[in-house]
């Protein structure tokens, strides 16, 4: 029996290898994210100028929507051939399965963000270089917050009906604090008069959210996955 971390790493590696083989998710998610940005840009640009702080909102909405798409798709893949069951049958602790899937999802989402953030910076003239580490920290902790609850819920729904529409329905209300924190923190950085201390406070809230909800998810994953 392998330890939890080792098993999680094996599962994450497998997911990343599957993704590297087909590259389905990375291509489709990036293009979807880009389309999101464009659609919102048309909504929020007036007379050739973006509305102030639209870029922060657009960034996080894009993360939400593409993240949901990626989540749904990655668990749909496990549904084919029922491989999620095979994972649950293995003599590894349930939390290893959760952590492995979460890790793989985070890698995918970070890759997408690495491309989308510069694009947004370009299209909306957002000052990415103003506080790059703080911005990075906000993105990382926000994505972890979204991903941790999302992975749990998406796994839960694998055997449920109406799973495509139910995932956003149950996920978005729970991750509202993550998006409030992410958007507010990012706009505090991008604002004409940047409020970096404010952004740091939001970062603290996000980190606290992550700590609490990753723990809750780890705790809940086992009971919820046994029928």
């Amino acid at each position: 029996m392998t330890s939890v971390i080792a098993a999680a790493w094996q599962i994450a590696r497998k997911d990343l290898r599957v993704e590297a083989r087909s590259r389905e998710l990375i291509y489709t998610t990036i293009f979807f994210a880009f389309s999101c940005v464009l659609i919102f840009a048309f909504a929020f640009v007036r007379e050739g100028q973006p509305i102030p702080n639209a870029s922060a909102g657009i960034l996080w909405i894009t993360i939400a929507f593409s993240g949901t798409l990626a989540l749904g798709r990655t668990f749909e893949r496990e549904r084919q051939s029922e491989t999620l069951r095979a994972l649950l049958l293995a003599p590894v602790e349930r939390v290893a399965v959760y952590l492995g899937k979460l890790l793989a999802l985070l890698v995918l989402l970070f890759a997408v963000e690495a491309l989308i953030v510069p694009i947004i910076g370009l299209l909306f003239d957002a000052p990415l270089g103003r506080a790059p580490l703080l911005l990075l920290a906000l993105l990382v902790s926000g994505t972890i917050g979204f991903g941790s609850v999302g992975t749990l819920f998406a796994a839960m729904l694998v055997r449920a009906q109406s799973r495509d529409v139910l995932l956003p329905v149950i996920l978005y209300p729970i991750v509202v604090p993550v998006f409030i924190g992410g958007v507010q923190g990012t706009s505090a950085i991008f604002a004409d008069e940047p409020a970096l201390a404010m952004a740091q406070t939001w970062l603290a809230i996000l980190i606290f959210f992550d700590a609490v909800f990753v723990t809750l998810a780890l705790w809940t994953f086992g009971p919820v996955m046994t029928e």
């Binding site: 609850v149 839960m156 009906q161 139910l166 329905v169 149950i170 409030i180 809230i205 009971p223």
Partner: protein, 221 residues
């Protein structure tokens, strides 16, 4: 169950009597200086909000118990709590904007309490949607949503509060002058009695449903 069956009608009856008397009790309170008559919505808005939180925590704790023990009773109480959270949420979310419209001229201003309430309402509505459309086995799934929803309450409150504040501060109740405190507590008691009796009734309905399933199955034998 027999003590239950006496408690519920008694509590319900008492609640209805208190509601009937409420307008008179409220009338004894003085008018609030700046807002006038409209402020009296507070006497229903505030208890409804408290009932919403009571329902949310009931659902959350019952969900937690269900997650650990799979007790059918816990699940029944969780469903009842979620439904009541949605109902009381609707009351809060309609009385709130009505009050805001009259007082500040706008239906909705993204202030901390109302927005938090909206998010909580969404969470428990999603709980009900999951149960309705998730197919068999959604009891466990919705328990996770209910539990997470309850744990979210402080986060939603802090983040929305930090974001905007227009609502009167939380400390309004202890600072209420005595003549206003009485009707506030009267209505709060009425609402909570209503909440508890409806919770028990609804949980019992759910228990009857699963009893019916059991009997239907036994009949096939």
């Amino acid at each position: 169950m027999s003590s239950n069956s006496r408690f519920v009608p008694a509590a319900l009856g008492l609640a209805l009597v208190m509601f009937a008397a409420a307008p008179f009790v409220i009338n004894t309170a003085p008018y609030e200086s700046t807002m006038g008559l409209v402020q009296r919505i507070f006497y229903f808005h505030f208890p409804a909000a408290m009932s919403l939180f009571a329902a949310a925590f009931t659902c959350g704790i019952a969900s937690l118990i269900y997650l650990r023990t799979r007790s059918a009773r816990a699940d029944q109480i969780a469903v009842a709590g979620a439904e009541l959270a949605v109902v009381f949420g609707i009351i809060v979310l309609t009385t709130g904007p009505l009050w805001a419209r009259k007082t500040w001229g706008i239906w909705w201003d993204w202030d901390a309490k109302l927005t938090s309430t909206l998010v909580m309402w969404l969470i428990f509505s999603s709980y009900l949607l999951l149960r309705r459309f998730g197919g068999p086995g959604s009891e466990m799934l919705s328990a996770a949503v209910g539990f997470f929803g309850m744990m979210l309450v402080p986060f939603v409150y802090v983040s929305v509060n930090f974001w905007r504040t227009l609502h009167p501060k939380t400390s309004v109740v202890p600072n209420l002058p005595a003549p206003m405190l009485v009707p506030a507590l009267w209505c709060l008691t009425a609402f909570l009695l209503l909440f508890i009796s409806l919770l028990l009734l609804r949980a019992r309905l759910e228990a009857s449903r699963s009893d019916l399933d059991r009997v239907a199955l036994a009949l096939e034998d």
